[in-house]
């Protein structure tokens, strides 16, 4: 998921994480729920003389629980941070990939080897209200053994790691934090825990532990957007009145070092204005209003809004200019 910049944020840091409620991808998603009794009936029909007969027989077994947990890091790229930032967010997704209800213990490790700095004060928060975003003061701090997340089979929950960035870090340095989830039924693959599964079934530990690393990247990379407006009234003057045309110009300037991925500029029309069809340009090249091969559209990606996808943008590259016009109703 790309960085999303809106024209209303006159300056946007490249740190905004979007939601990613992807379905869990792993093997036994939607497996038969533990405790299900699978009954299978075989039937024989036969004939003796003029008479037809039917007999049948059943056999049944109960599906045991397979314990599987998968943790994925949801940020598409290292989260850009500045030295001495506090409470910076890494987003993880905890998925119960087994076929029974399961609770998991979480551990965050900021002292991972192989990076350039260690984030400090790492804490774990649970998206317990499933809002999809971290809500300070709402999402609770995780305390092992107190609020271990309990997930139904195939259910997922966002988990947020918050950490502080040490002041003595340099542009381009990476700091990793690893989040590990372990089933409370056990973590060693192959372990059979009698009676621990749903409905008293045996629990078989498949992937009882899952760990994934998320990263911070110290970066001075940011985009600045300058927006100007020119009013032209029907009499050729500059009076904003019904029927007047307003031409907006957005100058997008990448700053710093590195590359911003998938920069998208959006701008919603002000109230009581109407978009002038065919007025959208990017660097003086006209763009169609439709969602098509070019970079921009009006109202197609989002209603009543201009959207221009700039793609990957290198820090320090030339500014890009977007224009479009509206009339006052």
């Amino acid at each position: 998921m790309g960085i999303r910049v809106t024209a209303r944020n006159w300056i946007a840091r490249c740190a905004l994480a979007a939601l990613c409620l992807l379905a869990a991808s792993d093997a036994f998603a939607l497996g038969t729920p533990a405790g299900t009794v699978v009954t299978n009936t075989a039937t024989v029909t036969y004939v003796v003389g003029a008479s037809a007969y039917t007999q049948s027989a059943n056999s049944a077994f109960t599906v045991d629980e397979r314990v599987d947990v998968v943790v994925t890091w949801q940020d598409a790229a290292p989260v850009a941070v500045a030295p001495a930032d506090v409470d910076r967010l890494l987003t993880f997704l905890l998925t119960n990939a087994g076929n029974g209800n399961e609770a998991f213990a979480l551990v965050v490790d900021a002292l991972v080897l192989g990076d350039q700095f260690d984030p400090t004060n790492a804490r774990v928060y649970i998206d317990s209200n499933a809002s999809g975003v971290y809500e300070p003061g709402v999402d609770p701090l995780y305390v092992a053994g107190v609020n271990d997340p309990l997930l139904a089979a195939d259910a997922s929950r966002l988990v947020f790691v918050l950490a502080d960035i040490p002041p003595a870090t340099l542009n381009g340095e990476r700091g990793d934090a690893e989040l590990e989830a372990t089933s409370l039924s056990g973590g060693v693959t192959g372990t059979i825990v009698a009676g621990a599964g749903d409905g008293g079934t045996d629990a078989v530990i498949g992937g009882g532990t899952s760990a994934v690393i998320g990263s911070y990247l110290v970066s001075d990379l940011f985009v600045s957007i300058a927006k100007t407006a020119v009013v032209t009234d029907l009499g050729g003057g500059a009076t904003p009145a019904p029927g007047s045309t307003i031409t907006y110009t957005l100058v997008v300037t990448p700053n710093g070092t590195g590359t911003l991925a998938n920069v998208v500029i959006t701008d919603a029309l002000p109230p009581f204005t109407s978009y002038v069809a065919g007025s959208l340009t990017l660097d003086a090249v006209s763009l169609t209003d439709a969602v098509d091969g070019d970079a921009g559209d009006f109202g197609g990606t989002t209603a009543n809004q201009v959207t221009v996808a700039l793609g990957n943008v290198a820090g320090g590259s030339l500014p890009q200019t977007i224009t479009f016009a509206v009339t006052i109703d």
Binding site: F28, T43, V44, T45, V47, Q55, V63, N99
Partner: protein, 355 residues
């Protein structure tokens, strides 16, 4: 020849002419109903040693009453073997051992008591009692249709079939007991029921007296008699059993550590057996197993495209008769076996994985 001997000879000749003479142990009484028995005595004497002419008395007359008596006897001494979804016929004989010609009404009923010592465990769906005419001793459906016998002389006997519709699907050796009740009535078509006189007063009027005993389901002296027979089903009893064996799971492999977790491999063995005591082979057997949605058929267990084994021979999953008669389609394992002799089994094996 003495008069009694003559009577007995005539009686035994009549009985011998009939198939069911064995049943004719009780012989009809001798004096015909309605005849007048007259008795006149005489006396002679002397007066002064002179023999006087004989003097006759009055005649003491009475009319012989009608003693109604009959027997019903099951001719078969053991079960009549029947096959399901056909009609079975059990033969009885009815004997008029009254001293008068009578008609008989016939009725057939289910009976819960097996006269041959077994256990009655089903009832035929319809029962009729018909007179054995045509070839005596052979049930002829188009011929043996009369449901009453209108005129039977003294000492007359006749055969009666209870014809029973044996339900389809009845199991081998199942038993249905039936009872024939014959009720004496006035002779002739539609003859009236008999009633017993309770206050006879006039010696010269013929009364009706019931002299019959109690049969299986009727009372003494009710002008009816009953006896029971039974049918035994000759068929095939096929049983089916199904066992399930957990072969492995994707985490711990084979037993004993395997568990029924998603991805586990399970083997089903379906055994179809025609009981050794079956009277007939079972034919056109179709074994079908609709797999539940929680398992997935393993298509290549016994070779590519052969996920079913029948008696050790891999069967293709395709519905490709006559190559083989097995298939897996629409979530259902189907195996067809043309015939299974008594005592024989068919064993079907296939594997599934737990979803």
């Amino acid at each position: 020849m003495l008069r009694h001997d003559l009577k007995r000879l005539a009686s035994s000749l009549a009985a011998a002419a009939l198939l069911w003479s064995a049943a004719d142990t009780a012989s009809a009484v001798g004096a015909d109903a309605g005849i007048t028995v007259s008795n006149t005595a005489s006396v002679v004497y002397t007066v002064n040693a002179v023999l006087q002419p004989a003097v006759a008395s009055n005649a003491a007359d009475f009319v012989v009453d009608r003693l109604v008596d009959l027997t019903v006897t099951a001719i078969g001494v053991t079960y009549t073997s029947v096959t399901p979804a056909t009609n079975g016929a059990f033969l009885f004989s009815v004997a008029n051992i009254s001293n008068a010609t009578l008609g008989f009404n016939l009725s057939a009923a289910n009976n819960a008591t097996d006269p041959f010592g077994g256990t009655d465990n089903f009832d035929p769906t319809t029962l009729t009692a018909v007179v054995d005419t045509g070839v005596i001793g052979t049930y002829e459906p188009g011929t043996d249709v009369a449901t009453t016998m209108d005129t039977v002389a003294e000492d007359g006997t006749f055969g009666v079939w209870i014809v029973a519709a044996i339900p389809g699907g009845q199991g081998n050796l199942d038993i249905a007991a039936v009872t024939l009740t014959a009720t004496a009535r006035e002779p002739g078509i539609g003859g009236a029921a008999l009633t017993e006189e309770v206050n006879p007063e006039n010696p010269l009027v013929m009364e009706t007296v019931f002299g019959d005993g109690a049969g299986d389901t009727d009372a003494v002296q009710d002008a009816a008699f009953s006896d029971s027979g039974a049918y035994q089903v000759a068929s095939a009893d096929v049983t089916i059993t199904k066992t399930e064996t957990l072969l492995s799971d994707p985490i711990n492999g084979a037993a004993p550590n395997a568990r029924h977790i998603p991805g586990a491999l399970v083997e089903y063995v379906v055994t179809v057996t025609n009981d050794a005591g079956s009277a007939f082979p079972a034919t056109t057997l179709t074994i079908s197993d609709v797999l539940p949605g929680d398992v997935t058929f393993a298509p290549d267990t016994y070779g590519i495209g052969s996920g079913i084994d029948l008696d050790g021979a891999p069967q293709t999953n395709a519905a490709d008769s006559p190559t083989d008669e097995s298939s897996f389609a629409a979530g259902t394992v189907t195996v067809t076996v043309p015939s299974l002799a008594a005592g024989a089994s068919a064993v079907i094996t296939f594997q599934v994985t737990v979803n």
